[in-house]
């Protein structure tokens, strides 16, 4: 049995598909200056192998948390405050993603300097695609997340 220290305040993302923790961490904006514990390929009864990400002192915007579902659809998010679990929820695939991703089409109006516009993508399942509401360009799977 592997023991990893509990965090006092922050976010634990559990049940990440094996080997995907670093992608999830990148999506969350990287470790920055916070303490992050990453457990990779931990034996799991549900998924054979899973990754776990513990981020001390980090609370992530909910819209961003749901983007985890694009990488690891079975992940669960645990919010820890004063050493106690205050919220646990699965990530759910959003139907629309607004403001947190950048369109990769350099000509898209959302990439034009100073125009008052926020990026917006509709999410389509099977196959997973993100479609820019403005330029209509389709992006496959997680291409926008890892860019």
């Amino acid at each position: 049995m592997m023991m990893v220290k509990h965090i006092e305040n922050g976010t634990v993302i559990d049940h990440i598909d094996g080997g995907k923790a670093l992608e999830v961490l990148k999506l969350m904006g990287g470790p920055n200056s916070s303490t992050v514990v990453i457990a990779v390929n931990v034996p799991s009864t549900k998924h054979k192998k899973k990754d776990i990400l513990k981020m001390e002192g980090v609370y992530v915007d909910e819209r961003k948390l749901d983007l985890i579902s694009l990488i690891a659809p079975s992940a669960t998010v645990n919010i820890i405050k004063n050493g106690k679990l205050v919220e646990k929820r699965p990530v759910k695939l959003p139907t629309e993603v607004s403001g947190v991703l950048t369109c990769l089409n350099p000509k898209c109006i959302t990439n034009k300097d100073r125009e008052p516009v926020t990026t917006k993508f509709t999410v389509e399942k099977e196959p997973l695609r993100l479609i820019c509401v403005y330029c209509n360009k389709e992006f496959e799977g997680t291409s926008l997340l890892t860019a």
């Binding site: 000509k107 109006i109 034009k112 125009e115």
Partner: protein, 299 residues
């Protein structure tokens, strides 16, 4: 209101209504009948990119309806030259007009304009994204010349990757009409994007037009190439000549959104199947119908 941003904004009924209205406008124009249904209304044209047919046919359409027109044909003469944003320019022009027709090189600009404008926006082409009013006039042309919009074999040729008229037309056929069989003819570098490959289609690099009811030729667009040598390699890859016309069906039609460079030999112009200038005329009654639709009810 009705902003006209994408061809997908139309319901099947609206499609049918616009085509029926365009037909009425066409009849009135043919009879030389003066219309003044939009007397007192002002249409602004904001063209951030070059255009001959779209801008002039819109202006002609508004004049034919008794309305008036103001605007600009290139951004250099506006405060855009002083770094004003598209959004602020649209917001300002909306104060002076009842409807705005806009063309921009930036995909999504028309959508942004519709979000900031207090008057309806008609998309006159936004980069490589869409050109919905061209699609409407293309459909009107096919309806008038072939008598139907279902059960057609349609050959699309040329720049199928960046050609917005191609994209919008594919969308319309896929969404609203039945029995369409596409042949996509393009060099590999300009192949039709996957999102438009729906229904019955086949792709080829050869100019195979024997079965086509509708031949939709497009220009290889120099302005969409970052690398000029790539353009040079591909610019003359397909050409419709009198010899090619001989291989085609007697009742086929050859369309082109124009301008052409050298992809249709001028010697083809006298062949009655080559209807691209008539297609340009159909832009007027179609846009008369669309301006009225946009203005109906205000915003």
């Amino acid at each position: 209101m009705k902003d006209i941003i994408s061809i997908s904004d139309f319901s099947k009924k609206e499609f049918t209504d616009v085509l029926a209205e365009a037909d009425k406008m066409h009849s009135a124009l043919q009879k030389g009948k003066a219309l003044d249904t939009l007397k007192g209304k002002i249409m602004a044209v904001m063209f951030f990119e070059a255009s001959t047919r779209t801008r002039l046919s819109f202006e002609s359409a508004m004049n034919r309806l008794g309305g008036s027109v103001l605007g600009f044909a290139e951004p250099a003469s506006t405060s855009m030259a002083k770094a004003e944003t598209i959004a602020d320019t649209v917001n300002t022009v909306a104060q002076y007009s009842d409807v705005i027709v806009m063309r921009s090189p930036f995909p999504g600009a028309a959508q942004l304009a519709s979000e900031v404008s207090s008057v309806p926006i008609i998309n006159g082409g936004d980069g490589s994204r869409e050109h919905p009013t061209q699609t409407m006039l293309d459909l009107f042309t096919i309806k008038k010349e072939k008598g139907r919009l279902d059960n057609l074999k349609v050959a699309m040729i040329g720049d199928l990757k960046y050609g917005r008229t191609v994209h919008s037309l594919c969308k319309a056929f896929n969404n609203y009409f039945k029995g369409i069989e596409f042949t996509f003819i393009a060099p590999e570098a300009l192949a039709i994007p996957n999102e438009f490959k729906k229904g019955k289609y086949h792709e080829t690099g050869k100019l195979e037009l024997e079965d086509a009811d509708v031949v939709y030729m497009t220009r290889i667009q120099k302005e969409r190439f970052a690398d000029p040598t790539e353009y040079e390699k591909l610019k003359s890859v397909y050409k419709i000549t009198p010899k090619i016309l001989e291989t085609m069906k007697k009742d086929a039609i050859v369309m082109h959104p124009l301008p052409r460079v050298n992809e249709i030999d001028w010697r083809c112009d006298s062949d009655s199947r080559c209807i691209y200038f008539k297609q340009a005329y159909y832009g007027v009654p179609t846009r008369m119908a669309l301006i009225q639709l946009a203005l109906r009810g205000g915003k």
